[in-house]
């Protein structure tokens, strides 16, 4: 394999890795604020693409359709938290897991009923030929994917560091009780976190649909991979999560390059299981003795 080919695989890995990073950030934001894993995160990703296609088919220009899809999904995330999860805050975490699992079942099935069982596609944001970078072909859409991911990460970073809300979110991720003592409205933080997580997932779904198409069942696979990425980096740590996403994308792509493409989907699963078995706190998390 020559350098250009290898670079092509790296590009592919960074491309899918960015998407994993966005979905993974959704997991991390919710986990940081609530301590639970939102099993419906993959469905938020799916809705981003599916809703964008639908809005676009109604006549909305592409960027507007995308914004509308992200906003609608964010709203759904907020509503879901308020309606289904809010009252269960003190419940057994298993209860919350079950609620998010049930929600993902319903969302997925509703998507099939509303938008059909077929694959849906979007045109590229800026149609045109691929760009040649050091012998590898980079699709223009990939640039959009990276661009949007970087923007999202920067916005999130700004949110965390510079805004009152961000400080409140960070406080919550350390301790809800302490945050409440400081006068923080933890219920609002949780609600906003769900909205942000949904928006991040939807953004990923919207950005990648022109490349991979989407459909009602696109959520499950990406959800698992996004979680694997998040836990690889370190759940709850946004920077680590993004790195985890990129690393996972690269691992997947390189495994196709050097092993075989048959078991490509199994790579992220193996990563997930290995991390959970061996080092549940991820690459950058602190080791905690006792159970996770």
């Amino acid at each position: 394999m020559d350098a250009a080919e290898f670079f092509q695989y790296v590009i592919a890995g960074l491309k899918s890795g960015s998407i994993y990073a966005l979905v993974a950030l959704g997991f991390t934001v919710v986990y940081g604020a609530t301590g639970i894993i939102n099993f419906a995160q993959g469905e938020f990703f799916m809705l981003g693409g599916v809703l964008a296609v639908w809005f676009h088919s109604l006549g909305l220009p592409l960027p507007v359709a995308g914004i509308a899809a992200v906003a609608a999904t964010a709203l759904l995330g907020v509503v879901f938290e308020r309606v289904a999860l809010r009252r269960q805050r003190s419940a057994n975490p298993l209860v919350l897991v079950i609620i998010t699992i049930g929600a993902s079942m319903v969302i997925k099935s509703l998507a099939r009923h509303l938008f059909g069982p077929d694959e849906l596609s979007l045109q590229e944001f800026t149609p045109g030929p691929s760009i040649d970078v050091a012998g590898a072909a980079v699709e223009r859409q990939a640039l959009w994917v990276w661009g949007l991911t970087i923007v999202a990460v920067l916005v999130l970073a700004w949110l965390y560091r510079r805004t009152k809300l961000g400080r409140a979110m960070r406080a919550c991720s350390i301790s809800h009780d302490a945050a409440r003592l400081m006068g923080i409205d933890t219920a609002r933080v949780v609600m906003v976190s769900f909205g942000i997580a949904a928006a991040l997932g939807a953004l990923g779904g919207f950005a990648v649909t022109p490349l991979t198409q989407t459909s009602w069942d696109a959520g499950a696979a990406i959800g698992v991979k996004g979680f694997a990425a998040a836990i690889l980096g370190g759940l709850g740590n946004p920077v680590a999560t993004v790195i985890g996403g990129l690393v996972l994308g690269l691992l997947e792509s390189l495994s196709v390059a050097f092993l075989s493409s048959t078991y490509k989907d199994a790579i992220s699963l193996l990563v997930l299981l290995v991390v959970l078995f061996v080092r549940p706190q991820g690459l950058f998390g602190k080791a905690r003795r006792g159970k996770v």
Partner: protein, 335 residues
């Protein structure tokens, strides 16, 4: 579970099982319809899986989002041994059960260190990996096209190749499973499981070996799922990877949730009801094909919403409602 009055309360579930056995035996006498019997075979298979999952998840509180994978392991193991290698059916069934149990042991290892959603994710990952294996190991599993022509079960030289025969075999195993699980739940391991579910620290403080308990419960639960898989494969004759995917695992969890943790009767009733739902035309002759199609189409929504509703409004599920009803009746008797 008020204990000291003991032996009398020990009998009630056994009486229920005897009644169930009578009902099961009566069905083929009432209707020899192949379709009805086939649907009831599906129900029986699910009852076996759910009995194991109720033990693991309902009682011991260890969530498994990968139980369909164990069913698949059992199904493919038995099918491959019997059809491709020509082994006798009992060998296939036993191997299926053992291999699934081994899978359960493997999955029990992360369970020792993980809780709640982390465990859910680990078992989910396991299911997804097994799905990839089922899909890609074409030589053994036939890949996406599935594995067909699986021979009928054969016990002691007797081929069970009639719908009634398969039905009786599956339900015989199902009733036996329910008997064994009921006994386990009412004795020390069952109490230990409930203690573990309530608070692991409390269980440890009572001298309960939670490590051994988790491992054994996972293995037993997986073994039952594997056995169910073997029965399914030979009873239906054709298996494919989609039957053993994540969606099915989620449905199993939904059934136990709706049926109610801490109970066996609840999940079993839920399994019967929910498995029958998409085939309701087998029981209710008046239903049209369209109605059935609609119900099957909205199956996932029904499961998902039922799960959420139960967890929020009736956390003890059907089992809890049953218990409250029987407690009320007992109160009336005592007066």
């Amino acid at each position: 579970m008020s204990g000291v009055k003991g032996s009398r309360t020990l009998m009630t579930p056994h009486l229920a099982l005897i009644a169930a056995a009578v009902a099961v035996a009566a069905v083929p006498l009432l209707t020899p319809d192949r379709y009805v019997l086939k649907v009831l075979v599906y129900v029986g298979v699910n009852v076996i899986v759910i009995a194991g999952l109720a033990l693991l998840f309902g009682h011991a509180g260890q969530i498994s989002m990968g139980h369909a994978a164990f069913v698949g392991i059992g199904a493919y193991t038995s099918a491959y041994l019997v059809k491709t290698l020509g082994a006798p059916w009992l060998v296939g069934a036993i191997a299926a059960t053992m291999l699934a149990a081994a899978g359960g042991l493997v999955l029990a290892l992360p369970a020792l260190r993980l809780r709640g959603h982390y465990l859910a994710m680990a078992t989910l990952g396991f299911n997804e990996i097994m799905y990839v294996v089922f899909r890609e190991a074409r030589a053994v599993t036939g890949g996406n096209d599935g594995l067909g022509g699986i021979p009928y079960p054969e016990v002691a030289g007797l081929r069970i190749d009639t719908p009634v025969g398969v039905y009786l075999l599956v339900w015989g195993v199902a009733l036996l499973t329910l008997l064994l699980v009921t006994n386990i739940l009412r004795s020390r391991p069952g109490r230990a499981m409930r203690a573990l579910h309530a608070t692991e620290n409390g269980a440890l403080a009572c001298g309960i070996d939670t490590v051994g308990l988790k491992i054994r419960t996972f293995a037993l639960s997986a073994a039952l799922a594997g056995l169910a898989g073997a029965l399914y494969a030979h009873g239906v004759g054709f298996i494919s990877p989609t039957t053993f995917g994540l969606d099915q695992s989620v449905i199993y969890v939904a059934i136990v949730v709706v049926g109610g943790a801490g109970s066996l009767a609840g999940p079993v009733l839920a399994a019967v009801a929910l498995t029958l739902l998409p085939y309701a035309d087998a029981l209710v002759p008046g239903l049209t094909k369209e109605t059935i199609a609609v119900m099957q189409d909205w199956e996932a929504d029904i499961y998902g919403l039922a799960m959420i509703a139960v967890v929020i409004f009736a956390p003890a599920g059907i089992g809890g409602l049953l218990r409250r009803a029987s407690a009320r009746r007992a109160g009336e008797v005592r007066g």
